[in-house]
Amino acid sequence: MSKNFALRELIDDRPQDGVFRVNRTLFRDPALFDLEMAHVFEGGWVFIGLATQAENPNDYFTSFIGRVPIMVSRDAKGELRCLINVCPHKGVRLVQKLCGNASRHVCPYHSWTFDSTGANRNIKWEKSGCYAAGFDEENHDLAPVARFGEYRGFLFASLNPDVPSLEDFLGETRKLLDLVVDKSPEGVELVPGRVCFTYAANWKMQLENCSDQYHFTSTHPSYIRILDQRAKEQASDVVEATLGAADFWQEDASGITGGTMSFDHGHVLNWGVMPVTSAQPDFERAEQIAEAHGVAKRNWMFNMRNLTIFPNLQIAENASSQMRVIRPIAHNLTEMQTWCIAPRGESAKARALRIRQYEDFFNPTGMATPDDTVCYEEAQLGMAEQERPWLQGHARGLAATVEGGNEYSDMIDLKPARSVLADAQLCDESLFGSYYRAWAARMKEVVA
């Protein structure tokens, strides 16, 4: 290791003194970034996709775990696997397409051929190849990833075998994934059309922003003004906004409007109360959902919920419903893969409303996300400051954090490790602590 990092110089975590601080180095150091790729993204569970992306026999889709190309392939019998998408021969990425259906995958370089289980089915001119004994002893199949698991259609994998079970890793957040999936008896799917964008800043800017209620009224006033205006005019040619009916972000709202929850392994939720109204596409199912799952769970499904499954999955249910996958490229460059995630079988009208609400808010071509990504880039510039290395952005809510849950999590038997109940102006930042503690746990071999 060319460079040594001391944890206490990166994360100042002293709960007894009421201190939690993060050093700017975490965002700007290329050497630290390389270690993150190896230990955070290639050293533990990461999200890789939805089972519906490879629904039928021999369907596949490709992605990356950290820097490593992978393929999720459903074999002819219907079993899903996650394979390293690299030909063992010369290390060429085997499949280039994002998705498809194939019972055989032929390497474009020397035609080694694999079936949809990853088994090698042909080595071109093997018999005439004068291979020596050592070659036959090697495994020529595509390598499976060390660990692969599914929870209700959400697929996770780890290149490192030494990780907790997926059940343990997800823990209580499985109940939050249930809220996403149980909106329809048929589960969820991705709306066709993937939107991909980059920003010139560290991946942890996106990680935090999804859970950052504090920024909303500051970063997005131009969008909020348009929402206000549309609500007043009730024009028929503009889309109805889910956020219009919600109080959680209105600075003059009173009482509990939401809060945050932190879970083991770095997962967090920030949430806000949203009423069950026709502005939400799920309104058409509101009664059915309540009958199937109870009113409390139904109401939670209508709440604003931004869920992060550390380190790379974010499901944002606020202005619409979005699934984001964070793909770090460099210490100062991040690629975002984004989709509209939706209940299967919803009406065409509800689907259209969901899509319209999505585009204006979530797209990099919309009216909100660009104001976020520009702020990430401005933050990245500011990470150069060394005079005062400690950021002051992880301190709100520290004095409001309690162990365990509260009456709102109790409603759905959800047991977070820590939680904050908030009025509209608290805007907890203490939940970010979960990210950095999980980060430190994954980095423990190289940052001590």
Partner: protein, 165 residues
């Protein structure tokens, strides 16, 4: 019958491009009918563009000029950090074809490159793709009743607003 010739059609597209290059959004909005469709499809994983905006995602989809007015309002509001230091853009339009649909409607196909200089970061980018315009004669003037922007390089660096396409 009013026929929009190829040269006139091209001039119309150049004028729209000029208004965007000058960020003269009022004149730009004036080119559109009040019920216009403004649509930039997204791309599916199978390598094809989305083609049903009500069941598939678009990068931008609006029915009604009112929505474009909202976009302009946001840009001008002073409350959008992405619009505080405005990028500079230059549209290049070529390969213009015009085909009359009926005596009040003409369809135009063209190619575009929009060179963007991001003044805030000193970064440059070139968006490119194809336009499909439908022009409709309203009170003796040609207006855009439908514009489809088929963006080829759809991995967006940081942000892309209406003046960059």
């Amino acid at each position: 019958m009013t026929v929009l010739g190829r040269a006139e059609a091209a001039a119309f597209l150049y004028r729209e491009a000029l208004y965007l290059d000058r960020m003269d959004f009022d004149l730009w909005l004036d080119l559109y009918t009040s019920d216009c469709l403004f649509w930039m499809p997204a791309w599916r994983d199978d390598g094809k563009q989305t083609d049903d905006p009500d069941s598939e995602l678009s990068l931008i989809f609006y029915r009604g000029r009112r929505n474009l007015e909202d976009r302009v309002q946001r840009i001008r509001s002073g409350f959008s950090v992405a619009s505080v230091v405005m990028p500079r853009v230059a549209h290049m339009i070529g390969n213009v074809l015009a085909e009359p649909v009926d005596d009040r409607t003409t369809r135009l196909d063209s190619s575009f490159i929009v060179n963007v200089h991001d003044v805030r970061t000193h970064r440059g980018h070139a968006y490119f793709g194809r336009y499909e315009h439908e022009l409709r004669l309203e009170n003796g003037e040609w207006k855009i009743s439908r514009k489809v922007i088929r963006l080829m390089n759809d991995v967006v660096p940081t942000m892309l607003d209406i003046y960059g396409i």
